[in-house]
Symmetry: C2
Amino acid sequence: MKKSALQKARATYQPKLPIALTGPVKAVAGKPTQSVANQEEIKALFPTTYGLPEIHFEKNTAPTIGKPVNVGVILSGGQAPGGHNVISGLFDGIKKIHRDSRLFGFIMGPGGLVAHKYIELTAPIIDEYRNTGGFDIIGSGRTKLENKDQFDKGLQILKELNISAVVIIGGDDSNTNAAVLAEYYKANNCGVQVIGCPKTIDGDLKNDLIETSFGFDTATKVYSEMIGNIERDCNSAKKYWHFMKLMGRSASHIALECALQTQPNVCIISEEVEAKNMTLQQIVNQIADVVAARAAEGNNFGTVLVPEGLIEFIPAMKALIAEINDLLAAKADEFAAVDKDSKRQWVIDHLSPEHAATYASLPAGVALQLSLDRDPHGNVQVSLIETEKLLSEMVGKRLDQMKAEGAYNGKFSPQHHFFGYEGRCAAPSNFDADYCYALGFNAACLINAGVTGYMSSVRNLVKPAVQWQAGGIPITMMMNMERRNGEMKPVIQKALVRLDGAPFEKFASQRDDWALNTCYVYPGPIQYFGPAEVCDQPSLTLQYEHKSK
Amino acid sequence: MKKSALQKARATYQPKLPIALTGPVKAVAGKPTQSVANQEEIKALFPTTYGLPEIHFEKNTAPTIGKPVNVGVILSGGQAPGGHNVISGLFDGIKKIHRDSRLFGFIMGPGGLVAHKYIELTAPIIDEYRNTGGFDIIGSGRTKLENKDQFDKGLQILKELNISAVVIIGGDDSNTNAAVLAEYYKANNCGVQVIGCPKTIDGDLKNDLIETSFGFDTATKVYSEMIGNIERDCNSAKKYWHFMKLMGRSASHIALECALQTQPNVCIISEEVEAKNMTLQQIVNQIADVVAARAAEGNNFGTVLVPEGLIEFIPAMKALIAEINDLLAAKADEFAAVDKDSKRQWVIDHLSPEHAATYASLPAGVALQLSLDRDPHGNVQVSLIETEKLLSEMVGKRLDQMKAEGAYNGKFSPQHHFFGYEGRCAAPSNFDADYCYALGFNAACLINAGVTGYMSSVRNLVKPAVQWQAGGIPITMMMNMERRNGEMKPVIQKALVRLDGAPFEKFASQRDDWALNTCYVYPGPIQYFGPAEVCDQPSLTLQYEHKSK
C-alpha cells in the first residue's frame, strides 16, 4: 500500500485523551436512568438492561489490575471519518487493561459476525490505519442485526474466539440493534457485553448526553472547503448560480453547518420547510426572489445549498409520493399498458386534484422518474431525484414568468454539484481524530467496568480534549417507541435540526443579509499541522449549541 | 468581508523569491530568438517584436536606481489559484523599483481596459488578497483583445492614467493577444509595454521555456484530494464504480497528474485515444474489461478518471459531430418539422453509414442532445455532454452483453462526479503561492528592463524557490501559424499530453497493475503549514518531466 506524504506524516499524530482516561481509571455510577419516552414499553422490552445508571470515569488514585480480554469490533453502515481511530483507541485501551488482550474485527459489517468472517487486528495492522479516513481496515456493511438467529450465529464465533465484548460502531439504527443484542446476550447469560459508538456524518445521532456523532466535523469541513472554493469562483466569474446538494439522508445538520461556515446566498433547511408546511413551488419562489433581488443590484450570480433529504420533508410532495405509490400498486397493469408519452397525463388524470396539480408543476423528467423508477417494493426512489437540478429548472421557469411580469431583469445560468462521497472517508480532522480515539479507548474502559448495553460517551467537546468527560450512557435511555414499517419498535430518537436551537437561530438571524449581499466565507481545506485556531476548532453547530446551554 | 481562520493565518505567509530577484537586479540578454515554426510568417506579422533575445536576471552588484512607473494589470479567462499572488508580486516589484509607482487593475478582464473600468490597487487592498484564491480582487472576463479599435480605446485610458506597462495574466489565447497588443503599441510608438503571465489550471501552456502554467499545481491537488477520498470510500464500501470527470477544456494534463497522484483503476487520456484512433465503443470495452477482470476477483468496485475534453479527441465522434453540424445546417427546416420521437431515426437515415452506426450506438439522451442542444452558431455543444454518465451507461450495456456471453459475472453500480469549479479558486498551494508571486515580481523586473512582448518566465521549478531562474521569453518565440475559425492565425502552440513524455510513460507502465489490483493513494487536502515533504512538493508532472531532462 503506497502512502501519500500526508498519510506518512499524519501517522505519527498522537490523539489526545480526556484526563480521566490517561492513568488508572475508576468507574463511578450515577443514578438509575429512564428512557426519553414510553418508559413502560421500553422497560418491558429490555428487562435486564433498562434503568441502568449513567457512568462516568475518574482518575483512580491506585493502579488497577486488569485481566486480558478478547474484544470484537464491527463497523456498521455508511463510512464516516475517524472509524479507524475508534478502533485504534479501542485497541490501545484493551492493551492498557492487559497486554494479552486481543482485538478481532468482523469483516464488511454486522454480516461478518453472522457469517463468521473476521481477522485479528494486531499492532502492525492497527498502526497502518491510525489517523486515516475510511473504513477499509475491516470494511463496513448494512446488514441489520435484528433477529435471534443472527444473535445465536454470532454467539458461536464469539465463544469460539473467547470474545467477551463486542463494540458496534454505527448510527442510530445500529446502536438500537446493539441495545437489542446486549439485552439478548445478557438475558441469556451469554457472557458477552455489547457497547455502541455514535457514528454518522449526518449528525442526527445526538441528544442531551451525546453531543455529536463522529465524522460530522470532518465531513462538513470537507464540504465547506468545496463550497467556499465554489463561492470564490462564483464571486470571481460573477456569472453562475451554483446549486449544491449536500449528503444527509434526512436531517439538515450538514447543510446548516456548511451554511454557518460559508455564508451562501440561500440554504434550504428541510425541517423548516416541513414546519412551515411549504410547497415545492414556495421554495422555488423564495429562491427566485433572491435571484431577482441580486440581479436588481447587478449580481447575476449566487450560491444555494440544498439538503439531500429535502423532497421527503415537503408535506405536499410526501403526500403526492404516497398517493402515487398507492395508485401504481393498485393499477400497475393498466399503467404499464399506457404509452410512454401518455404516462404523465395518465398519472395526472388518476391523482386527486390537489396532488395532480403538484405533479403537473414538476418538470417532465422528474415527473416521469416519480412514476417509473421504483425500488423492489414498488416505491418511488426519492434518493434518485436530482433535487439540485429540479430546483434550478423550476427557478428558471419562475424567473421567466417574473421577467414577463417586469419583476426580474437579469441572466440566470445554473451549475450543479453534489457533495457526498468526497467527505465520508477524508482523514479525520484533529477534532475527529481525538474524539474517535477517545470514544474507542473509552469503550475499552466500559468493557473493563463490566457493563453492557451502553454507548461510549465523551462530552464537554468544545473544551480542549484534556477537559473532556468520559463515561457511558445506557442506550435504552435514548429510546422511544416509533412506527417503522408498520410496526411499533423501540428505537433511538433521531435528532433533526431544531428550529429553536442556537445553530438554526444564528443562521436565521443572518440569512437575509447573506441573500442580498455577498458575505461568502472561504474556510479552505482541513489543516492538520499549524495554529490551533485553524486546526482544532470543533464544528460551529457544537460551538453554538454549547454557548446556548 | 469575514475571513476564515485559515485565511487569517495564511495572510502572513511570505512567498519565496528566486535569489536573483531578492536584491538589485541586472537584466542579461541572450541571443536573438526564432519562433517554433512558420518563422517567416510570424516575423512578418510581428516586425518590431520578433526575434528579440531571451532575458535572464542576475543579482546586481551595485544598487540600481529606478523611476516611478504606473502599471495596469488584467486577469483574463478562467480562474486559476494564485492570480492574487501574481498581482501582489507585481505590486511589490514595482514598489521596489520606486515607492511612488502605482498599480491599476482593469475590472472584469480585458473588457475593463476597453471600457475604461479600473481601480487603483493600493497597499491596503493588496494586503487583503495575499495568498488567497480567486480572481475577485478585480474579476476576470473572456473578452478577446484582437482588434485595433480595442487597442486604441485601451490606449486612451492608459495615457490618461500615465500607464506605461500592462501585465496580462492569461492562458495561451490571452498571451497570443498580449503579443499582438505589444506589437501594435510598439509599432505605433505608444510608449506602452505589454508583459504576459502564464495562467491556466489546464496545464496546456508550457514549452521548453515555460515549465508550467500557474494554478495547475493547486487545482490538481484539490481534485486529487477529492479523488483520493472517493477511492477510500470505494475501497471501504466495495460496491460502487465511481466515474469522475475532470475539468480541462482539451488537454488531459489534469487527468494524468491526478492519476499519478491517486492511482485509480482506469484513467482515459484523450491524446492517446486520438493517437490510437480509438472509437467510443473501444474505450467502453476497455473499461468493461477492467470491470470484468476485477469482478472475477470479487471486486465489484473501482474508479475511473475521465478528462472533460474526451469526446472531441475521439476521431469517429469528431467526424460524426462535424457531419451532424453540416447536416442540420443544410436541412434545418426539414429537421425542425420532424416529430420529436422520430428525430433520432431521421438523423440516422440522413448520416453516412459509418457515422450513422456511431450515432446509433449512443444512448438515446446523448444522441438527442447531439441533435438538439446547439450553440448560437448552430454547433453541437460538446461541453454539455455528461461524458462520465455516457461512459458508465455504455459500460453497463457492454457488461450485460458480456454477462450473456458468460464473460462477466458481477454487479455494476456506477456513481458520477465532476470536479472543476472546486479547484479553480482554492487558496494557492505553497508552490503556486511562491511561483505566482515570483511571476508577478519578475514581470515588474521585465517592465523595469524596458522590454515588451515578453512572457514572465520562472524556471528550474522542481528546486527550492531560491534556486529558481527568473527572466523573460519573447512571446513570438512560442508561436506558430494555426487555422482558427477558418483563418490562419499566429498563435502560441497549445501543449497537449505527449505520449513519449515521462509523465505519460510513468502512468502507462503502471496502469495494468492499478487496473486489476487496488493501489489507491490518498493524497489528502493541501497543507499550508507542516513538514516540507507534505507542503512543498511540486506536481508529479513537473517532477517526472524534470527527471527525464
